[in-house]
Amino acid sequence: MAAIASRRAAPAVGDGRARALLDRAALLVVVLAAIWAVWEGFRWIGIRTELTWPFPVNDVTMPRLHEIVGQLFEPSRVNGPLLIDVLLDAALFTAREAAVGFFLGSAIGFGLAVVLVHSRLLQRGFLPYIVASQTVPILAIAPMVVVGLGSKGVTGWVAVAILAAYLTFFPVAINTLRGLQSADPRALELMHSYAASRWTILWRLRVPASMPYVFSALKISATASIVGAIIGEAPSSIQEGLGGAILNFNQYYSLEPRNLWATNIVAAALGITFFLVVAGAERVVVRRAPENVA
């Protein structure tokens, strides 16, 4: 009976999915168009009215959007490769730092949460320092980490990955801890009735129950890891990544503002890519009633 029902429902579900995809694409176009309209509209009004507050509007502060995009396909220097090729190389370099930092940080955050969920004492003792760790500006510790590790013979990009991990572990630790504690008390009683060990309860109940929480943290961490990598590159004087490109183009901003804006677009695209990868993994891993997905 159920089989018949689901077969009959199947085409409707397929239609719904195609429809949802189409809606999404349309929404994307609308949002991009709105951003374009706001940018160009503000620019047009700003130039007409000779706006000085909050900033004077001109070709340096606000280049035309299509020119910024067009700049990507111009040579980065005379007879040099296209800017987009340079930036994609830089993005790949930064992506490696960010990805390593993301996995390292997530693993540390997850492990920390698993330890803390089993000990009230450790939780009370450690949690304040975990929180405090995030109030230290990353710009302040970046040189220490890079120089310190550099003197031990660690390559620059690995040190940057560790900085990215520093930003990544925190949301994962906090959210995973909450997720591990989110298991229904009745479900815990059920596990006790089976005389299940702590280890079994952890893997069969607490961890699966925590997945929606873990993934909302991973989505934050995915973008944070890129911010960490870009910021980490600056004091490390690493030139190959997006951070290096941003510093470089920043120096020549008044001459060629479009380069920096184009770099921002690539950096944003990298962040969105990371986010989408995690969101995709979430859809595969988290099998949950729609209303329970955090």
Binding site: Y194, P208, V286, A289
Partner: protein
């Protein structure tokens, strides 16, 4: 004290929460024979759910002895001697019906083949064929509770502990599941301890009804239910059924545990 043949034997069991501040249970003596269907009934706060958890070794009694299947309750829990069903189904959202039923079997280390075979039997027993690969949120409340019962029975425990399992269901679903539970009980031959606050439900299902009174929780009386087996829809219409419902209700009232009468109890008054 604890007869070797008893499925559950409680002797002088008491429970206080906090530093003696709340006396939840006092002087509980009760022996349940194998194959019996015993209901614990009483108003909220009479400690019936606490008592069920003490039998299951999920809560430790402050005083007294608890023997389950001829061994201490702790040993019985480690030996997987009982299955438990709660008021909510407590299914794992991330598991299908099949996977939820096989959870205890996985923990017991059953082989995949043996698990699949048993799950098939269980799905048939609780009449959920066709829903094996559904997730819990795709099922109605009654169906979820049937999965929960199948999970509790999957590893063939000698004892089934049920904590108001049908309390959250509508009256029609509850009566149908009452019938199904009796059928399952007859087929499995297991002992059932059933917590409820519905008088007709307790009388319909049980071989004995243990009436409890609150603050502190005590046994106020035990009513033998001598309705013939097997029971069916017509059981609820027999005069003896109404007599027994009335007797349980009077015991509850006499114990100072009078609560607002449930609707079916009002119906009985008109009929008797």
């Amino acid at each position: 004290m604890s007869a070797p043949h008893a499925a559950v034997s409680l002797a002088g069991v008491g429970k206080t929460f906090g530093k003696g501040a709340v006396r939840a249970l006092e002087d509980i003596d009760l022996a349940i024979a194998p194959g019996e269907f015993v209901s614990l009934i009483g108003p909220s706060g009479c400690g019936k759910s606490t008592l069920l958890r003490i039998v299951g070794d999920l809560i430790q009694p402050s005083v007294g002895d608890v023997i389950v299947n001829g061994k201490p309750a702790h040993r019985a829990r480690l030996d997987h001697d009982y299955g438990i069903v709660f008021q909510s189904a407590v299914l794992y959202d991330w598991r299908t019906v099949t996977k939820n039923i096989s959870l205890p079997l996985e923990l017991l280390g059953w082989s995949r083949g043996r698990r699949n075979e048993r799950v098939r039997e269980m799905v048939e027993l609780v009449e959920l064929s066709g829903f094996e690969s559904h997730h819990p949120w795709q099922l109605s409340g009654g169906m979820q509770q049937r999965v929960s019962i199948a999970r509790a029975l999957s590893f063939d425990p000698a004892l089934l502990l049920m904590d108001e399992p049908f309390g959250a269901l509508d009256e029609m679903t509850r009566e149908r599941l009452n019938m199904e539970l009796l059928r399952i009980w007859e087929r499995s031959g297991s002992t059932i301890v059933f917590v409820t606050h519905s008088i007709p439900e307790a009388v319909f299902l049980s071989t004995r009804v243990v009436v409890m009174s609150p603050r502190p929780g005590r046994i106020a009386g035990i009513v033998e239910i001598d309705l013939p087996q097997p029971r069916g829809a017509e059981t609820r219409e027999q005069p003896r059924f109404f007599e027994l419902v009335t007797e349980v209700r009077e015991r509850l009232a006499g114990s100072g545990a009078a609560t607002a009468p449930t609707e079916p109890a009002l119906v009985t008054e008109e009929r008797v």
